[in-house]
Amino acid sequence: MSVFDRPYDDPVRVLDEDGAVVGEVPDVDDETLVDIYRQMRLARHFDARAVSLQRQGRMGTYPPLSGQEGAQVGSAAALGDDDWIVPSYREHAAGFVRGRSLKRTLLYWMGHPDGNRVEDGVNVFPVAVPIASQVPHATGASWAASLRGTDEVFCCYFGDGATSEGDFHEGVNFAGVFDTPTVFFCNNNQWAISVPRARQTRSATLAQKAEAYGIDGVQVDGMDPLAVYRVTEAAVEKARDPEADRPRPTLIEAIQYRFGAHTTADDPTVYRDDDEVERWREKDPIPRLEAYLRSEGVLDEERVAEVESAVESRVADAIAAAESTARPEPRELFEHAYAEVPSELERQHEDLAAVRESRGDAAFLEE
């Protein structure tokens, strides 16, 4: 039976909250399982350090992902080498899995333009900040792949709030009509800043919205990385095969929780109870997978310690590299608005350069 033939409100599960197997474990080797674990640990540690950097004034506003590692890593790990992700602004972990560097991710939140540059050969769209606006991009990009007869699949990430936006509707609707190879991956973390999931829609699930577009929709326990992997893998396989007897696009609703704030500028204690946070912490994806992998003999104390120390040094190195990256030249402002710098922009640059020349950069920069 296909993983998509189930009621919308019956999430796919593989591990329970204690890491015991309650569903079909995806067929992957031990190294992949350890990689998923390592990537989740990396994201969790990166996240804690990033919040700390912001608190110390070493980085700007940052959107934490803690609690959402299972959904991001499990899904990104299930994609093929040539597949793409089209992220929102919280998918740091999915980006790392696909090859985005920690350093550039930090640089983006440090306001450095190099942060938006994607590493060569890494199939990741630049993050989209306006909510749901990346959804039609994913449809268009996957449509292009399908027109060209290549077989890349595009996995588009967005949150529960995004499903209320027109662009979500338009993007998924186009995908249904043109049968594009797209996986729409909804990170339903229960809160759009302070607005709860129930305020986004009267629909009992977000997955059921797929019905209206004539595509498959499925819920998954988004804090169970193996369940997420299994569902995403099935969605990708179906997307890649135009001959499949099901629609190529899929809407996945990954039920999860953000443990922290919407961003470092947000105080969630204003709108949600500690009890609620504690209840969701019981579902933390990291100890769950760790318990399973220990029970399977894939991880032991020593290996866990190795992962921990490797993760810490990677993040420390990335922070050092990001913080030692020079401020870009002001000339950069003018370089990339157009393929060729228009003459008026040259003049505007000359104006800026003249003031820098006469007054020095101290006239511009805060100490």
Binding site: P113, A144, G166, S343
Partner: protein
Amino acid sequence: MTETQNLTLVQAVRDGLYTEMREDDDVLVLGQDVGKNGGVFRATEGLFDEFGGDRVVDTPLAESGIVGCAVGMAAMGLRPVPEIQFSGFMYPGFDQIVSHVARFRARTRGQFTVPLTLRAPYGGGIRAPEHHSESKEALYAHEAGLKVVIPSTPHDAKGLLAASIRDPDPVVFLEPKLIYRAFREQVPEEPYTVPIGEAVTRREGDDVAVFTYGAMTRPTLEAAETLAEEGIDCAVVDLRTVSPLDREAIVEAFEATGRAVVVHEAPKTGGLAGEITALIQEESLLYQEAPVGRVTGFDVPYPLYALEDYYLPTAARIEDGIREAVEF
């Protein structure tokens, strides 16, 4: 010898799409009614039969979806030419235009680009229903990262459209529907481009430089002929591109006479005429013999059509505006 066809402006648009699609397999057209129907103004007539449904795509009725999907396609290397059926319906796609089309290149330092050409019929004067007659080019000209092109002749329409489709930057291509079928012109059958960002002098004259574009070019030329009988000799410059403006051509034409009038059907406040006036006084203050005149639409929402003849600049209003600049 170059073969030519005698085409209207909208036929030249259609011919431009046809030749570019024939030249480059990556070019595709998407929008509402562009397929079998050939477009509500016939701008895509016959393209569906010629190139098939994968390249001439009827989409769901959703402007943000059309623009947003075109962004994704363009980022992956295609050259989409989305059509919005009327420019008055571009606003649902405005977030995509401003937040993504205009910014993709700059924010990724040139790594991701979206070289799409967003076409829309625009402007007033055809007795259309509400929301079908506005001129909002200033919104797009204000948006860094976009180019904004407005042809006024069949020959330019084909050449500028080809240039837009081939341009590495996204272009908003506004087609003045008042003159879609107003006159015909010999248009080469083969592909050619007219450069983006270059104004053209439609009439030489020594007394005053009149700057305009799109559908207002014709009443402006008409006014110039009438004034010539009175001994006022107008230069008429058709800007053709409103972003980036051909600043050199504007300055040169102004300095030759010391007097200028700008004509557009868009509202006065915040319109291109203000930008051109500022440019003239920044660059050429000491040449200035008179205030720069602005003959424009009024600062009111576009009226229902019973009053549109009073709203749109006419040859008579343009004449008076020019006379004022000359007699100052």
